[in-house]
Amino acid sequence: MTLLSVAGTDVTVALRDGETILGGLHRAGYSARTGCLRGGCGICKVDLVEGTIGYAERVADTVLTPRERADGVILICRAVPEADAVIAPRADFRLRCVAPFLAALARR
């Protein structure tokens, strides 16, 4: 189990094994700006400020360039944290709680 936190918010989600960042956020009742959900459009990029992540699926270099990868840019729809992780949302990340009861469940 790894913990995902969103910098600048009080959002912390305990991720299940193999769960993507977005999968954990959705399960915990949160919504964020996303696109194809397949790692192909790059809309859901955020910066990883702590921790490490891996991808269970291939992500094209045209979507996430080697430079971006080196700089810690990740796709939340595909990224699976390998250790407790903190992500820094970008201005248009639009994180919001859409299901408070799920957020309460995830906090227990």
Partner: protein
Amino acid sequence: MTVLRMGYVHARVTDLARAKDHYANTLGLYPTLETDDKIYFKGWDEWDHHSVVLEEGGVGAVKFGFKVDSAADLDGIEKRAQQFGDCTVTRMSKGENLEVSDGLRVYLGCIDHTFEFYHSMTEVGLEVGTHNPDAFPRHLIGIGAPMLDHALLIGEDIDTAARFFMEVTGFYTTERAQTDLSDKSQNIAYWLSSMQKVHDIALLKGENGKLHHFAFQMRDWNDILHAADIFSMDGVPIDIGPTRHGITRGETIYFFDPAGNRNETFAGGYTSYRDRPTIIWTADQLAKGIFYHARELKESFTAVYT
């Protein structure tokens, strides 16, 4: 000058095995050839060897193929393309695309997309045969998509690209979206047809070289709903739908393949004619034009492409 239809889409995918599972098991296309880095598919109601080519590495479109009626049509397209100017035209030889005849390759720099025109492809036949056929194959897989329908491409100078398709390849504009009805209006999108489908290709103003989606022709609204059910079963991300378009009147679902390329299932739409008046949509009504029921644009539809 007769372009019969969009015959194939050649797209990139990040993982060929994942893609094969989606296109074969969820969409129900028939794999007809596999090489080290490509898979070729056809739908059950198609007779030519393939309508989809997937190549491993990256995402987005490689090129689009249009089938013409005869080899002589290629000469006309070549001549008019050279007269047209704003494009690069080269002859391609038989076999350069597996199972495809010789033809023409046209690169339109104005939208950064490549198109190929060919006169024949190895015929493998309808899945129901041609002699006293049944209405559909008994054991379709997934949504059982019958055939490729159209593609929507994105590019900067769609006016020049649309002019190419009309002046060089004989397409006509079934519908167009523009900023307003004034003399200074700018075009936002074109829907172009070569025969009687409501569109074979659509062009949207935006980033050069991008693919918005390619679509498969479904029989009717029932099949669209059924397709959406299958997508939920298979964990396919649905972008929009099932719903109806104001533009083309088509019934639709937008969804994403495993690499993030947008696919569409498209049914209905009206039969078009070359002399049918062009339908105009203005920007203030564009949301209704695109999503006839929600009447609100969704960012994932307008800002997401490969």
